[in-house]
Structure formats: structure tokens, C-alpha cells
């Protein structure tokens, strides 16, 4: 057969097969749903025997929760970043279940951690800001309602030793975090792991023969955590701009960015003030902070190994939110719901199942405790929004709605919904909607809400239906124009 004729025959055959397939397949089956049908099969086949059942060790296993504040997922090596600044985290991932699409419930420390702690949506646990408005000029500190049970409450009540060693600020015990803990360190504002690890290790040494829950937290990557002078100077050597990379400057830039949200037009224009070199410098400072955090984490994990605790503990590493670098006109976090703030680190190391297991499905950060409790067969608080991801780990079907909220400093009221690669951001104050397709537009630069009204509608209705459930009345927010409250 001549090569030409062969090609012609193949083309005809391919087309006939295609036409045949289009005719045969169920007419209402979306083409892209075939992917969903295939992926569980793949997941199951790579996971044979991985049952993640530790219920028989429920009375001896410890739980260690490590929170790396303000760590963006895409700054780690977890997503295949060639220039990873997190070798220790990446190494630990090879022994862990890694959730590659974990979404924070809120884009800043306090509500995000409280969602992890309680398994509830921010608007349900109600700790959405450090202060609560009693009247126009009266603010009181917020604290978790005593009526809301947290997952650590259950462990404490179950007789576990509980210790928290944190960088303070948004995770201060007064918000409801350290309830009935044997130890809770929160006396510094924005301290790093360098501050919280030593007392944590001391406490571990003292309690290693008890069943314990340890919460370790540090602000090492946070804008309000100062980078060591020597390291800062090294970064400045390659930079000719005016920025100093310090925390006061970071706070000022953050406020300028937020002002642009409240009073567009009058506010100092960050976009104009910062050029590419400036942003590169700030990101360089951020990367160096993350590198330091990772080093400290590595040291701590090594200690756990030396103490023999890795085989006796479930170790969970999360970040509570990311950080923005002018992707959407601002610096820092809290004021928007874009991926740079919501895409977080979430991994779990289960003794006996300590090998890398990648999960690509979207999950919510507050699924952490329900999953750990489920794996151990423990009873946690009822009626929570978080769900166990154990079915997902076992290759079974699992789907749960992915939403995020920000009522940051009482002046933005944003909600976001994810479904597959589509993401809707809804501004409750003016009803403005933005839709993004993260598969082709991961940086959320191209709003496709008018090009894809159906998905916009579906996600908005899912979001509004969920707000009904969480008793959020969207109309309470319409037309609100408040000045940001000053908290820092």
C-alpha cells in the first residue's frame, strides 16, 4: 500500500470511529465527564491496600499539627517548582498524602485557623475579625462562642495532653484556640518557628510518653515577620530600588493597597508606585523567609524522627493562606479571594502509610481534622462543614462544595466558589461577579463571567444556597461602605 493511501485510509477510519463514538455515547453525557470517570480508576490502582485505617491505634497515636503561616503553595516544591525553596517540606511530602488543590476557608490567619479548629465555615464560627462591632464606635475583641465545640476540645476531653506553641497574633489563645490546653504559647506578636520550636520540643520531651496533641505555628513567611538583616542586605545588593524590605514598609504598602479597595481614585496607586524590580525584590524577601521557615521545619521534623515520634504520630502540615504580590493590585493578604491567597499547603503523614500519595481533587482546609479523626476512628463535633477526606484517600468518590469567605477588617465582604477549574468570586457589597477558568488562567486575570453565563449562574446559585445554609443574608452586605478598621 502506498504511504499516501495508507494515510487516507487511516484518516477515514479515525473519522468513522469518531463519528461512531459521538453517535453511540449518551447524548447528555458531557465530554469532559469522561475524565472524572477515569481518574478514580487510576487513583485506586496506585493505591491498592492503602486503607488509611489507624483506628486500632486510636489510644496511642499523637497528632501534630504544624501551621506555616502565609505560605503560598506555588512557592513550595510540591507542585514541581524546579527552584523550590522548601527542600525539607518537599522531602516530607514523599512520606505524606499531599493535597495539591487545598483551598483556604479564609485568606487570613484568624478565620482560617478557626475554621480548621472548628471544622466550620468562618461565617458559622463567627470569628471573622479580631474585633467585633458592637455599635458604630464600640468594638470588642472577638472570641469563639463557648457553645461551639472544637476538634481539639474533643481531644482534651478525651484525656490527651494538649500543647500549642505559636507566633501569637491571629492565633492567640484569647480567640478560643487554647481552650483547656496544658500549655499555649502566644505571648509574641508575629513570632516565627525560631521562637515557637524550642519550647515545643521541650514540651514534647516532657510529654512524649503521654498521648498528646501538639499545635506548632510560626509567622516566618509572613509580611510582619522581619527577615534577618544580613539576609536582607544580601538581597538588597542585587536591587537598585527604594524599598527596604522591612515590616513597617510592608504594613504601609499593605494599607495603601487596601485603601485602593475602599476609595478607588483617591488612594495612592500601588500599581504605579511599584515596578517589576520592586515586586521582584519583595518576592525575593518572601522566598528567603520561606527558605528560613523550611529550614526550621526541617530541624523540627528531624527532631521528631530522632525522638521516635514519627511512628507514633499523625503529622499534618498546613498553611493557613498565601500572600499576594501585586497579582491583583495589592500586597499582603485578607482583602481578596484570589489563588495567591487561597491556594495553600496541606499534607498528612500517617504512620504505616508513610509514602507519597498525591491528591489532585479540590479540598477545603477545614477538612483536616475530620480526616484525621476519621482515620483514627474518633468522634468529633457534629454538624460541621468540614468532611473526612478518607474516601478520597481510598479512591472512592467524594465531592464537597468548595467555598471561601473574607469579611476582612469588616470592610470587604467577598465569597468565592470553586467547581473543577472554574472559580467565581462574588462581592456581596455590590453583587459584582467574576468568573475564572484556572486551567487556562491560573493567575485570574481574565474574567469570563459574561462569556460563560451558565457557569456563573451555577456557581453563584451554589454560593447563595450555601449562604442560606450558613444563615448569611447577602442583602445585609449590599451597599455597605465601611472604612477599614485599624487593628495593627
Amino acid at each position: 500500500m502506498k504511504p499516501g493511501r495508507l494515510i487516507v485510509t487511516l484518516v477515514i477510519l479515525a473519522n468513522l470511529v469518531l463519528v461512531g463514538w459521538l453517535l453511540v455515547r449518551a447524548p447528555d453525557q458531557p465530554i469532559d465527564s469522561l475524565g472524572d470517570a477515569v481518574s478514580p480508576l487510576v487513583a485506586t490502582s496506585t493505591l491498592e491496600g492503602a486503607r488509611y485505617d489507624l483506628s486500632n491505634r486510636a489510644d496511642e497515636l499523637n497528632v501534630i499539627l504544624i501551621s506555616m503561616d502565609a505560605l503560598r503553595y506555588d512557592m513550595t516544591g510540591l507542585g514541581g517548582n524546579g527552584q523550590s525553596v522548601t527542600p525539607n517540606l518537599d522531602q516530607f511530602a514523599t512520606e505524606s498524602v499531599v493535597f495539591h488543590d487545598a483551598v483556604a476557608n479564609a485568606p487570613w490567619t484568624l478565620p482560617s485557623h478557626m475554621s480548621v479548629w472548628t471544622g466550620r465555615w468562618p461565617s458559622v464560627h463567627g470569628v471573622t475579625n479580631k474585633l467585633r462591632l458592637l455599635s458604630q464606635d464600640q468594638m470588642v475583641p472577638t472570641t469563639l462562642s463557648p457553645g461551639i465545640e472544637t476538634f481539639p476540645d474533643y481531644l482534651v476531653r478525651g484525656g490527651w495532653k494538649a500543647g500549642g506553641f505559636t507566633g501569637g497574633a491571629g492565633v492567640q489563645g484569647s480567640y478560643g484556640f487554647g481552650r483547656d490546653f496544658d500549655a499555649y504559647l502566644d505571648d509574641r506578636y508575629f513570632a516565627g518557628l525560631d521562637y515557637s520550636i524550642p519550647p515545643a520540643l521541650e514540651w514534647l520531651e516532657a510529654n512524649r510518653n503521654e498521648q498528646f496533641f501538639l499545635f506548632l505555628h510560626g509567622y516566618d513567611s509572613h509580611g510582619q515577620y522581619p527577615l534577618a538583616e544580613a539576609k536582607l542586605d544580601r538581597l538588597k545588593a542585587d536591587y537598585t530600588g527604594d524599598l527596604d524590605g522591612g515590616i513597617e514598609e510592608q504594613a504601609k504598602l499593605r494599607e495603601d493597597g487596601l485603601a485602593a479597595i475602599t476609595s478607588p481614585g483617591d488612594a495612592p496607586n500601588l500599581e504605579g508606585a511599584l515596578d517589576e524590580a520592586d515586586i521582584g525584590f519583595l518576592k525575593g524577601v518572601y522566598a528567603q523567609k520561606i527558605k528560613d521557615a523550611d529550614e526550621r521545619l526541617g530541624g523540627f521534623l528531624a527532631q521528631l524522627r530522632v525522638m521516635g515520634l514519627l511512628d507514633k504520630s499523625i503529622v499534618v502540615i498546613i498553611s493557613d493562606h498565601g500572600d499576594e504580590f501585586m497579582e491583583h493590585g495589592g500586597l499582603d493578604h485578607g482583602g481578596t479571594l484570589y489563588q495567591e491567597q487561597l491556594h495553600v499547603v496541606m499534607m498528612m503523614r500517617f504512620p504505616g502509610y508513610a509514602r507519597q500519595h498525591d491528591v489532585q481533587e479540590s479540598v477545603r482546609l477545614f477538612d483536616v481534622f475530620p480526616t484525621v479523626f476519621d482515620v483514627m476512628g474518633l468522634q468529633g463535633p457534629a454538624g460541621v462543614g468540614g468532611e473526612s477526606l478518607l474516601p478520597l484517600l481510598r479512591g472512592e468518590a467524594h465531592s464537597a462544595p468548595v467555598f471561601s469567605e473574607s469579611d476582612y477588617r469588616l470592610f470587604v465582604n467577598l465569597r468565592a466558589a470553586r467547581r473543577g477549574s472554574k472559580k467565581l468570586v462574588l462581592d456581596l457589597q455590590d453583587g459584582r461577579k467574576e468568573l475564572y477558568d484556572l486551567s487556562v488562567d491560573p493567575l485570574e486575570q481574565n474574567d469570563i463571567s459574561s462569556a460563560d453565563p451558565r457557569t456563573t449562574y451555577e456557581l453563584e446559585q451554589a454560593l447563595r444556597g450555601w449562604m442560606d445554609q450558613t444563615r448569611t443574608n447577602p442583602e445585609d452586605y449590599l451597599g455597605i461602605q465601611q472604612q477599614p478598621i485599624t487593628l495593627f
Binding site: 493511501r5 487516507v8 484518516v11 477515514i12 479515525a14 473519522n15 468513522l16 469518531l18 463519528v19 459521538l22 453517535l23 447524548p27 447528555d28 458531557p30 465530554i31 453583587g431 453565563p453 451558565r454 449562574y457 451555577e458 446559585q461 451554589a462 454560593l463 447563595r464 444556597g465 450555601w466 449562604m467 442560606d468 442583602e475
Partner: protein, 501 residues
């Protein structure tokens, strides 16, 4: 031709085959993509017959049926024997039908009402799922004056307060001229059974005595307002427009209550005695109007059949509300929340008449239409909708109907219908003699303003609690509010809905 084809060189033939298959493949891909959710989707034709009270139809057990066409249609349709509206007025009822929400959740409960743009409505959502949407309405309360055009690709009201006679030709014209191959959603609406009832011969007197002369004429030929009787007398002048000050923000605010009191105590108020013969005549003329509406419905079905649309369309026939026909001294449909006004016909004919003749006795609501249709086309249901889908009933299965049905009206009345009975709360103040009398004639006792039909005390207590809980779940202020335009005012005056200002 055959010979020519044979003589064509083989290579060219191969090329043609290649081209054709390539084309087929490309078309297949395109078709497959565009029809992803549309393939096999039926058309949806919603026929809303204004003011048709269920129990006057043969298919719902009436002795001398004025509706032979609807009765025949019922044999090919799933018939809901207990379908209820949430309010007795055209515009509010349709607004609820299209949004699956209670009227007071949507907008101001008077003529400043407008369908809010931010609440997803049925045509809008169907449009998102590939439906071409068209409405030919009889205008008036179901027109673009109240925002009903929202979500429709094509919206037409040939004239205000129109008949099927006006609506049918443009409907068929639209059907014949549409080029698209998408499934369509079509809304058809007519006021044929709405007051004024009297229809041309032979329909007008088909069920009424043509020799009759009396008060019934006045009643049958009145429209709008509170056409009602008091203590066996009919007050021709006490229509709503004459009684109410429309500029007052609330329909029954202090000024309006004073007017009501004044009117009721006016010794010069002309009144006429109303006897059973008068009421019978009104009912007869109303049946005549149904007879006419039914004839036009028959014509519509024939026209749809002629276009081959019965095989691939879901046809829903319903009414937005019923009509009081002399029970408790009431006429018209605005001033009460009884079954006469709220119980409506609801028939759903599936493509090719599948499951035709099924009778569903569970309680359903017009609020259920939107969830049902959206489930049928695989569309996401909007948040905040109040109805529940009865798709299972259309597919041969069973459904669980509503335990309780709630309704409300512009007079701030609200009502619960429950297995134990109906309980109605009236917002009408007790300080007006007219209002008090009105409530008395409706068997509403004293200052409690509650009507408990055959309810014992504990049941009344339960229903009162449920009614209050329902009310608390509704927003305290309407979503949208707007000014009444001159155009709207004149359209309303034309039909007697607005007194001379």
C-alpha cells in the same frame, strides 16, 4: 448520470470520500459539542389561563363541564388534583411561578411591583441552558410594565387585557418564523376567564339564562377592586379604586382605612339585593367565559399538533388563581385566600402524552413548576427557591406533596392550608366598621382576625405557629421598589384597577 459517475477517475472518488468523512467528523464534533446538554431536550409550552377556578372544570368533577377540550387534554396529561397558587392576583402569582418565591420576597406588594432583575427567573435560567425563550402574553398585569419581559428572547403583548383571540396569531407567527433548532420555552397567556366575564354568543349565555335581568349583571360586568356583597347586598360603587388612596405607601394605611369606614357608613351608598338567582347567573356567565377560553385552548392545541409539536414538547396548562363566585359574599379574586381563589387547575402533558390520565392527589404548588422544569432539563436550581420538584409524578412515580401551603395578598392577609384545615390571618385593622363587617361576613371573628375552618383549638394553635414561622422567614422589606409611571397608571385605569386621580 450513473454512467457519468462510473467514468469518474477512482482517485477523485477517494478524494470525495475523504472529504465527506472529514466533514462528517467535523460536523460530528461540532454537533456533539453544541448539543451537549440540548440533545433530546423537549420544548416547554406553558399555557396560563388567567382566573380559572379548578372546581368549575369537568376534569375536576364539575357536572356540566364548560371545558370539553381541557377535559380531553386531561386524558393525555398528568392531572394534579390539588394544585395551589400562593396569591390571588395575576402579576404576583406569575412572578411567584417564574421565580419559585413568595411575592413579598420579590418586590413591593402593590402596583410599584416589578420583577427584580437579580432574582433568577424561569425563562432566564432556561435560556442559560440553551432554550430559546418566547412569551406572548395578554398584557396588563403580565407585561413588561412589571418587568416580565426579563429572561425572554422574544416578549410580546399584542394588547393589554387581551384574549386568546389576540394572543394566538402572533404566537403561531413566532413558531413559524423561528430559525433556530434549539428547544424553546413558550409562554402563552390569556384573560378570557377574567372579569368582565361576558363573552360573545354563543358562549356568553351557554350556561346562563339569557332572559335573566338583575344584580348579577352588575357583578358579572364589574372588574377589579373589591366587587363584593355585604349582608346580602351588592355595592356597585365600592370597588377598590374608589376606596383606596393609592398614594399612600401601604394599601391599608390610615387614610385608606378611613375611606373604607366612610364608604360603609354612607347612607347614600347605592346597594342592590343579591339573591341566589343572581349568584347563579354570575356563575353561569363565568362558565361561559370558561367555555370560550376552552374553545380557544382547543384551537391552540390543534395548531400545535399541526406543527408536530405534541411529540417533543412538555405542555403545562395552569391558572394563576381561581375566582370567588359568591361564596361568603365574595366575588373576584383579590380579597380572600380561600380554595376558591387558590386552588387551580394544573395539567402537564409529557411528550407523546406519556403517563396521560394519571391523577396526582398530593398537594403541589405553583412554586413547584420552576424546580420541576429545571430538574427536567438538568439545570441548577437557584438558591432561595421555595418549591419542590414533582418530576417523579410526571415519570410514573410517586411524590411527597407539601404538608402545608402558604399564601398571602396585598391586603396583608396570609393563610396556611394544612391537613387539619385552613387558617387565615388578616392584616386589616379592626377599627374600621367596613373592615370589621367584611371580616365578619368572611366568618372572621373579632379582633383575632383568624378564620379557622372546622379547626379545634389545638389545631388552630399549631397552624398559627406555623404561619408565624413562615412569615418570619420572609424578608421584612421588599427587594425592589420603583415609581409608578403614567403609562402604567393609564393601563391600570383602563381596566378599573386605578380610580380617577
Amino acid at each position: 448520470m450513473r454512467n457519468e459517475a462510473r467514468s469518474t477517475p477512482r482517485r477523485a472518488g477517494v478524494r470525495v470520500v475523504v472529504l465527506v468523512t472529514l466533514l462528517l467528523g467535523a460536523l460530528g464534533v461540532l454537533f456533539g459539542m453544541s448539543q451537549r446538554t440540548l440533545a433530546g431536550q423537549p420544548n416547554i409550552i406553558l399555557i396560563s389561563l388567567d382566573t380559572v377556578r379548578a372546581d368549575r372544570l369537568g376534569l375536576y368533577g364539575a357536572q356540566r363541564s364548560p371545558t370539553p377540550n381541557l377535559d380531553r387534554f386531561a386524558e393525555e396529561a398528568v392531572v394534579f388534583e390539588n394544585a395551589y397558587s400562593v396569591i390571588g392576583e395575576t402579576m404576583f402569582s406569575h412572578a411567584s411561578l417564574f421565580t419559585s418565591r413568595y411575592p413579598s420576597e420579590l418586590s413591593t406588594m402593590d402596583y410599584r411591583f416589578s420583577l427584580p432583575p437579580d432574582v433568577p427567573n424561569l425563562p432566564q435560567v432556561l435560556g442559560l441552558y440553551g432554550y430559546e425563550t418566547s412569551a406572548v402574553t395578554a398584557g396588563g398585569h403580565l407585561s413588561d410594565l412589571f418587568g416580565f419581559e426579563q429572561g425572554f428572547d422574544h416578549f410580546e403583548s399584542p394588547r393589554h387585557w387581551a384574549s386568546f383571540y389576540d394572543v394566538l396569531p402572533p404566537t403561531m407567527q413566532w413558531l413559524d418564523s423561528r430559525a433556530g433548532r434549539d428547544p424553546f420555552f413558550l409562554l402563552l397567556h390569556s384573560y378570557d376567564a377574567h372579569a368582565r366575564y361576558m363573552k360573545p354568543s354563543p358562549y356568553g349565555f351557554a350556561f346562563a339564562n339569557p332572559e335573566y335581568r338583575g344584580t348579577g349583571f352588575f357583578i358579572a360586568e364589574r372588574n377589579a377592586g373589591v366587587t363584593r356583597t355585604l349582608e346580602g347586598r351588592f355595592f356597585p360603587k365600592t370597588g377598590l379604586p374608589e376606596l383606596l388612596d393609592w398614594d399612600e405607601p401601604r394599601l391599608l394605611g390610615p387614610a385608606n382605612k378611613a375611606r373604607l369606614a366612610l364608604r360603609a357608613n354612607d347612607p347614600d351608598e347605592e346597594s342592590r339585593r343579591v339573591t341566589r338567582h343572581d349568584v347563579d347567573f354570575v356563575r353561569g356567565v363565568y362558565d361561559g367565559a370558561l367555555f370560550y377560553a376552552d374553545m380557544m385552548f382547543g384551537v391552540t392545541m390543534a395548531e400545535l399538533d399541526r406543527r408536530g409539536l405534541l411529540e417533543n414538547s412538555i405542555i403545562i396548562v395552569l391558572s394563576d388563581h381561581g375566582e370567588e363566585l359568591g361564596e361568603r359574599g365574595l366575588f373576584n379574586h383579590r380579597f380572600s385566600l380561600n380554595d376558591a381563589v387558590l386552588k387551580v387547575p394544573l395539567l402537564v402533558r409529557m411528550p407523546e402524552g406519556a403517563h396521560g390520565g394519571r391523577r396526582i392527589s398530593e398537594w403541589v404548588s405553583l412554586l413547584d413548576i420552576m424546580p420541576t422544569l429545571l430538574e427536567l432539563v438538568g439545570a441548577e436550581l437557584p438558591a432561595g427557591t421555595r418549591g419542590k420538584s414533582f418530576v417523579a409524578a410526571l415519570e410514573g412515580g410517586s411524590i411527597e406533596g407539601h404538608e402545608a401551603l402558604f399564601s398571602e395578598n396585598v391586603f396583608r392577609m396570609m393563610s396556611i392550608k394544612h391537613r387539619r384545615g385552613r387558617l387565615t390571618f388578616s392584616g386589616v385593622g379592626g377599627d374600621s366598621p367596613f373592615a370589621a363587617d367584611l371580616l365578619a361576613s368572611a366568618r372572621i371573628d373579632g379582633p383575632a382576625f383568624e378564620l379557622a375552618e372546622g379547626l379545634d383549638e389545638s389545631s388552630a394553635e399549631l397552624l398559627r405557629a406555623e404561619l408565624e414561622a413562615w412569615r418570619r422567614g420572609l424578608p421584612s422589606s421588599p427587594r425592589t421598589q420603583r415609581e409608578v409611571s403614567d403609562e402604567l397608571r393609564s393601563v391600570l385605569q383602563e381596566q378599573g384597577y386605578w380610580g380617577p386621580m
